[in-house]
């Protein structure tokens, strides 16, 4: 609560009443955990890719929350870049997934296990 007051005093837009940094971080952590668990338990390449995106965005939320909290715009700028890169990377990754699917007629990761000891 103390932190929110200092934020308001610094002249920024007043935050939503009762929503603190911890809330944002909680949402971010939850999203990250969901993404991680999804990545670990699912075998579908597309779903796994979506899960990585989820983790990506979770970190983005954390970055923006901290940036807003410290009134430091570089965090937000960084997220803009991350989104851009993520978009490009999504295009590449999906293309890869399509190619992999064509090779094996399956989206399961278990279809790709040739490099093992």
């Amino acid at each position: 609560m103390q932190d929110v007051l200092t934020l308001a005093q610094a002249g920024g837009t007043p935050p939503m009443a009762g929503v603190t940094l911890a809330h944002y971080l909680f949402v971010s952590a939850a999203m990250f955990a969901l993404g991680l668990v999804g990545f670990l338990v699912r075998r579908n390449l597309i779903v796994m890719f979506l899960c990585t995106e989820l983790m990506f965005q979770a970190s983005g939320i954390a970055l923006i929350a901290f940036a807003r909290y410290h009134m430091e715009m570089s965090g937000q700028t960084f997220v803009i870049f991350v989104l851009t890169v993520a978009a490009a990377e999504a295009a590449l990754a999906l293309a890869l997934v399509v190619l992999l699917f064509r090779r094996r007629d399956s989206l399961s990761t278990e279809a790709w296990q040739e490099m093992r000891g």
Binding site: R43, E110, G117
Partner: protein, 769 residues
């Protein structure tokens, strides 16, 4: 250098007393050394040029006798230069500097330097040696031009290149003005000997003989090398000029009976040098390589293994004679080794059937005589015997080679008879007779005079009379086995069985034909036979090649002009060499040597013998006698009688009543001899003894080392190879290939890092508060 100056001090101390007593009593006269003419360097370098040219001939695949003519021309030039140098040299010594070779210093002092230059020390001893080395080499190269004619186009260039290289090495050995250059030549002649013994490298026995010669020589070379090392360590120089001057005080000390003044190292040096000489000159116990060396072409046997290279040991001792005179053990050792070798080789020679091998054993035996000659203080006798032996043994070998050449490699004296009276063989037979008379010591031949000198001096020198008796007995044996060859092969009923050997390549042709016949189907067989016939006819046209084929239509081909000329020249030289004995006061050789450092040590006064032998007899010994007579006079008669008895026994046993080649009266005596004859025929089984005592244990040890190498050394290396592989296979299951597996790994790792960071933060907060 400390050591060096210490030596000089000791030397001065030794000399000191003598100098004050009588003005500069000298042990021997050091020759005056002058600057020699530059062209002496051509003597070794012309043959080297010849070797290079013959190598070029090989590279351009010359298919003519060109290499032989190059060799003969260059060697003849070399000989002419030697003669010119001999004319110019009037006593004393001269050093011709060719170029700086080894020279390094390790400090600023004047004596902190090691020098061994390509300089040539020409005195009467070395020039005498070079005269017969280059002269004989020229003649034998001429002989070889015909003898090796089968090899034109294949091994001809190789043969003459090695021949030239040999003469170069021998010249370095003889003319070098320091022990290092001598060693270079020493190893060079060993290498050429190896190359030429193994000339027929497709023949396993030749390869084995070459290796045997090389290895046996290495054993002796170790002695020589250590002798040279110790010489430098003690005297601080390896150059003869300085070395002889430094050795003189010790010689003087020994002559005056001050044996305590001789350090052990000075006693050891000549012994080590003598071991080197024993190896190179095929003396007991290192003589076994020389008879096997007869696997090489006969000109090589004549030049290297009879006339020149094997006398290198004699030269070494004669050259470093002052060092030998400074030791009271070296010369008696040389004498006994020489006498034992002479006797042993002669007994073996009596029982052999291969005429070239008999000649080889007689070479070993005669080398024993030469060593004895040096050791009983008659350098003139030893060197004179080297000289006469070089001529008559070359004659003998070349005559044997002509027989071998003409009878398809037949050397067994049981399969040849009456050769001298076959058409075209008279010159060979007469040359052989001259050689045999010389070797047997027939009165008034050169061999008779040179052998007598050694025998007589052996009886004169105190304590050496047993040597004299052994040598006298050996001389009788020599006469017997020499004329055994002559009476069986060259006279008597005419009969011959050609050998199955062909020189080199032609033989393989025949084998190929017969293989074709054996392996082919009937049709191919007929073709093969036809090819064989055609080959026969083609060869039949060329009489020289004829003897390669079937014994049915064999006829021996007598030697051509080159072989006959050389044989006649050498036989004549062997006869004329006797004249040298009558030149000057005590013979030409003696006169030559008196102005070199190998001068004969004469009785200075009645009863004092100027050498270490005076010490052996405890007091100045009385002059030795031969059963109360003057040995020199008595020996003329005694040795003549001994030689004639030997010849007579051979005449009775091997000529009288002999009707065929294979048997003679001597065979009837064999049962009475019991095992002695067979043992002598088996060369006293010395080779087998060496095999058992040295080769077999070495082989066992090498097997043990092999096991150690396999288990421990290889094991360690292999362990370091296996270890990473084992770790890898242990860790390999981690790479499962399952994407989620890796993801879990990453997540766990990340979680761990996070945990550490958090814990550190908490701990940091705790410390801070």
């Amino acid at each position: 250098m400390l050591m060096h100056s210490a030596v000089q001090n000791a030397a001065e101390a030794v000399v000191g007393g003598a100098v004050s007593a009588a003005d500069a009593a000298r042990a021997f006269a050091l020759p005056e050394v002058t600057e020699g003419p530059w062209w002496v360097a051509l003597i070794p370098f012309l043959p080297l040029l010849g070797a290079a040219l013959c190598g070029l001939c090989a590279a351009f695949k010359v298919k003519s006798k060109l290499p032989a003519w190059i060799t003969v021309a260059l060697l003849a030039t070399s000989f002419a230069i030697t003669v010119a140098m001999f004319q110019q040299l009037s006593g004393g010594a001269s050093i011709s500097h060719a170029f700086r070779w080894i020279e390094f210093r390790w400090g600023p002092e004047a004596d902190q330097i090691f020098t061994a230059n390509f300089s040539f020390y020409a005195d009467n001893l070395s020039i005498l040696w070079m005269l017969f080395v280059t002269g004989l080499a020229t003649l034998i190269a001429l002989y070889a031009s015909e003898y090796m004619s089968h090899e034109v186009g294949t091994g001809y260039c190789r043969f003459f290149a090695a021949f030239c290289l040999f003469v170069f090495s021998m010249s370095c050995l003889v003319l070098g003005d320091n022990l290092i250059l001598l060693f270079l030549g020493w190893e060079g002649v060993g290498l050429c000997s190896y190359l030429l013994i193994g000339y027929y490298y497709k023949k396993p026995s030749a390869v084995a003989a070459a290796k045997k010669a090389f290895i046996m020589n290495r054993i002796g070379d170790l002695g020589l090398l250590m002798g040279i090392f110790l010489t430098f360590v003690h005297f601080g120089t390896v150059e003869y000029r300085e070395l002889f001057a430094l050795a003189e005080p010790y010689v003087l000390a020994l002559q005056q009976g001050r044996i305590g003044d001789i350090p052990a190292i000075v006693n050891l040096i000549p012994v080590l040098l003598a071991i080197g000489a024993f190896g190179k000159s095929a003396q007991f116990p290192l003589y076994v390589w020389l008879p096997d060396a007869m696997e090489g072409p006969t000109p090589v046997s004549a030049l290297i293994h009879a006339a020149t290279m094997v006398t290198a040991g004699v030269y070494l001792i004669a050259r470093t004679y002052p060092l030998f005179l400074a030791s009271d053990i070296a010369l008696p050792l040389v004498a006994w080794v020489g006498a034992i070798t002479a006797l042993l080789a002669a007994t073996i020679g009596m029982a052999q059937f291969d005429i070239k091998r008999i000649m080889a054993y007689s070479t070993v035996s005669q080398l024993g005589f030469m060593f004895c000659g040096l050791a009983v203080l008659t350098t003139a006798g030893g060197v004179f015997h080297v000289l006469t032996h070089a001529f008559f043994k070359a004659t003998l070998f070349l005559a044997c080679g002509a027989v071998m050449h003409g009878f398809a490699g037949q050397l067994d004296l049981r399969k040849l008879s009456g050769v001298m009276f076959m058409p075209g063989w008279l010159i060979v037979g007469l040359a052989m007779l001259v050689g045999c008379l010389n070797l047997a010591g027939f009165p008034f031949t050169a061999g008779y005079f040179s052998k007598d000198l050694i025998l007589a001096e052996a009886f004169i020198t105190p304590t050496m009379a047993p040597i004299g008796w052994i040598l006298l007995f050996t001389a009788g044996l020599t006469a017997y086995y020499t004329f055994r060859v002559f009476f069986r092969v060259f006279v008597g009923p005419k009969e011959f069985h050609p050998g199955d050997d062909a020189h080199g390549e032609a033989e393989t042709d025949v084998e190929e034909h017969s293989e074709q016949v054996e392996q082919g189907n009937p049709q191919a067989e007929a073709v093969g036979e036809k090819a064989h016939d055609v080959g026969d006819e083609a060869h039949g046209a060329d009489e020289a090649e004829d003897h390669e084929h079937g014994h049915g239509h064999f006829h021996p081909h007598p030697p051509g002009w080159a072989i006959n000329t050389v044989l006649a020249t050498l036989a004549l030289a062997s006869i004329l060499a006797a004249g040298l004995y009558f030149i000057g006061d005590k013979g030409w050789v003696d006169g030559m040597l008196q102005s070199s450092t190998a001068q004969q040590v004469y009785l200075t006064q009645e009863g004092t013998r100027a050498s270490g032998y005076a010490l052996v007899t405890a007091e100045p010994a009385a002059k030795g006698t031969f059963l109360g007579f003057d040995p020199h006079k008595a020996m003329y008669y005694v040795s003549a009688v001994v030689g004639l008895i030997g010849i007579g026994v051979a005449f009775v046993l091997h000529y009288l009543g002999r009707t065929e080649a294979a048997t003679s009266r001597a065979d009837k005596l064999l049962p009475a001899m019991g095992p002695i004859a067979t043992w002598a025929q088996d060369k006293w089984r010395v080779d087998e003894l060496y095999d058992m005592v040295i080769v077999k244990p070495l082989r066992v040890i090498s097997h043990i080392f092999h096991v150690i190498d396999k288990l421990i050394v290889d094991g360690l290396v292999n362990l370091f190879g296996v270890l990473p592989r084992m770790i890898g296979s242990a860790l390999r299951p981690v790479q499962s290939g399952q994407l989620q597996g890796y993801a879990v790994g990453m997540a766990v790792g990340l979680a761990f890092v996070l945990l550490v960071v958090v814990l550190m933060a908490v701990a940091g907060a705790g410390v801070a508060s």
